[in-house]
Amino acid sequence: MGDLKLPDIDYGALAPMLILFGAACLGVLVEAVVPRARRHGVQLGLALLSLVAALVVVILERNTRIVTIGGAVAIDGPSIFLQGSILLLGIVSLLLIGERSIEAGGAFVSQAAITVGSQKDLRQAGSSGGATEVYPLTLFSLGGMLLFVAANDLLTMFVALEVLSLPLYLLCALARRRRLLSQEAALKYFLLGSYASAFFLFGVALLYGYSGGVDLASIHAAVADPARSEVLLFGGLALVAIGLLFKSAAAPFHVWTPDVYQGAPTPVTALMAACTKVAAFGALLRVLYVAFDGVRWDFQPVLGAVAVLTMLVGAILAVTQTDMKRLLAYSSIANAGYLLVGVLALNKEGLSGTMFYLVAYGFSVLAAFGIVSLVRDAEGEATHLSRWAGLGRKSPVLAGLFSFLLLAFAGIPLTSGFTAKFAVFGAAVDGGQTWLVIVGVITSMLLAFPYLRVVVLMWLSEPGETTPAVSVPGFLTSAALAIGVIATFALGVVPAPLLDLTNDAANFVR
């Protein structure tokens, strides 16, 4: 046995992840020792504090550019920017998750294991406070996302994928209302997610066979060597890409999205739509730009077809939806397509534009789901579109905010939706992908219709008998809404600071 050489570890660069994982473990302890009545406050405080602390560390480490712990983690411009975005969006989603004033006990059930419809279930539905395990689960998931965007070898990336996914599966099942739908969503997400993970892992194995290593640098080196087996390369790339595209909700790997978005508790849906998207695209960017840029001409048309399919599926199916959460789910699929357009630009502008888009979209979608959680009646959230008729008369402020967000999704100028679309489309034309931009523009026209239909419903339709009341948002939801809407407006009017930031960050290290 020779001397084991321990890898260098830069704890400063890893600190954000360590903080989140540590706080999550602490959260599990809190569940065991703190009395039930005070758990919610303690857990929420702990979670928020750890996220803010991690964000501060990310900001302090903003100039770090290293590959650490034996090449497993790369802390470079994109990972720092994306980690910062995940933490910021995570803080806003946590505000939505922590809201308890809209509904007694919050959006989560206290004991998810109780059989739906039993006596015990009826008892817990009315009174008891929601599960506080959601906070450690959220922290684990967010920690996994931070690792996912920074992972520099495919095995670390796989571990991160599982760390971020498993808590999400659980969170999906914890809805207080419509519990069967929620559990079905969780099961569906879990099963399909497991398949996707398996595909990813198989792809990693093939790539190991191809290059003799799992780290992105050695794959990059192997791609430059024409003597190796292309079957292993493209087979591995395809399988890894499937795993990542599943998490990004790109067609044809999108089928879980509407069901899961609809069934999951709305704050969790918001978390998935904002943070998971950042993480998934962050990893996709790193894999494609760092490891496989040598075969860009081979995968560009294939992924281009995926992007076209994603945009078309999202836009066309969004037109037919009658449920607000499903509508937003299909819109999120279409947005995944626009993000892919930015990814496929395969240039610096594409990287920078995609990162800008992720942040812009994240804030808008968080605010949109925040509003969805407010429109409710005695049965819980009233998500059917017909129930939103005439909302503009009953609560003009809320309907005004939602209309603004829909205009942002439709890409009307002076909203972040426009600047973000411009950033990715401009990069794609620059990168010679004009055909993707044309499809993007056409699908934007299609998508405008469902958004506009909601605006019409809210403002131009007469309020029906069944138009639900709009709950007065508590402090946490108000804060989340305000942050989301202000960010949507600010990034539309003065996008320059963030664009400069993404431009400076748009360099991977190998």
Binding site: F425, G426, V456
Partner: protein, 512 residues
Amino acid sequence: MSDFPFLSILTLLPLVGAVVVAFLPRTRPGPAKYVALGFSLAVLVLSIVMWIAFQVDGERFQFRESYQWIPTWDARFTFAADGIALVMLVLIAILIPVVLLASWNDVDESQRSVPAYFALLLVLESTMIGVFAAADVFLFYVFFEVMLVPMYFLIGSFGGPRRQYAAVKFFLYSLVGGLFMLAAVIGLWVVGGHTFDWQALVQASGSFETDTARWLFLGFFVAFAIKAPFFPFHTWLPDAGAAAPVGASALLVGVLDKVGTFGILRYCLPMFPEASRWFAPAALILGVIGILYAALLAVGQNDLKRLVSYTSIAHFGFIGIGIFAFTTQAGTGSVLYMVNHGLATGLLFLVVGMFVARRGSALVSDFGGAGKLVPVLAGLLFFAGLASLALPGTAPFVSEFLVLIGTFSTHKAYAVIATAGIILAAAYVLWMVQRTTQGTLNPALAEAPEMRKDITLREKIVVAPLVLLLLILGFYPKPVTDVINPAVEATMQDVGTTDPAPTAVANGRVAR
């Protein structure tokens, strides 16, 4: 004086007004109306000062301002006005107070918020000014798209029956055009060297590949043709014009649609000269079809507001052939037509609105012999109709004549066919006037109590400036043509089709 930031203040002032108005209490509508009117009059005064400060024989673009916005894309807040933009800005500044005054009591009886209505009109003014004042393609696009939002809510929230359908149709048509333009804007930005500055792009345009330039031209042209609207992209206008409240309709056809023809003159022609010449025959044919087809449809309309909308489409056909005839004379005629059409059709819409407000219906068949009840209003309708059919002595005659002779010098056949449009114009106007105000009195009309009230003082103030301007510019268009001519000449030079003979004629007979 020309260092004064006219254009940015002109853009911001109505916006500030809108914010102030929006926060006034909706229970007492009075203050909101007066504040809105005050702001629009301030804009009018400022625009008149700007008109005086504009040097006719000075640089092409004056009042230039430029502020940094998004350095990554080189998008800037650049404002500048040439003669064409200047006349449109003054037209907006004149029409808004008129429309505000005309819409004074429109919203009172409905359950809608009065401050919201007036605030939306001011927001619309701000975006319209911005679109004409922008000298940065990105900024132009932003205003071009944002303009839709206030108009959408004006139609959708304050319009008549079928307002939902009309509002959505208007929005979707415009958005589709806008997105085509977005693709073209991005393409232009990439091939033009990553800048949005108008002048830099025009200079770079010489190096565009022919095919690229044609595709980009098409992207811009489709957006402008939908906005204008040219045949066959026109079907949204009659619906929107009929459903919108009359004030908004007057602005819709009077100003908003001119963005399309203005855009062709400012962006399509100078940036893609070769493509413009290549597409010109197609555009001319669309223009001529529009003139005849829309005029024929106008003859057959039974709804007054739809009828006026169709006449506008016919008029836009004239403007279109004037632009694509590529002579200075026809170009000047087109720009003058844009101004005069704004005045004439604006007046026609407002007078029709006065009839509709009294009768509670816009159907021609609900009128008949109205002249016996409201003789002054009926006379006004007749005058507005005559102005709209370009009777000599009214301003539109000058512009229509210029367009036709300017077109005749290069495209004889189109000019001859287009002349038939004049006859059809006489048919739709005179027949409409006859069926509504002449003949035997419709008994149902006599029973409507409101119909006994002839023109009020407020309505007199509304129509007076428009009537006066139509007459003055009909006899003495020189102040306006002097401002327009250099800008049009420069545009025609950009296209590369300088035609010395017609220019001399224009200087000899019209400008002097």
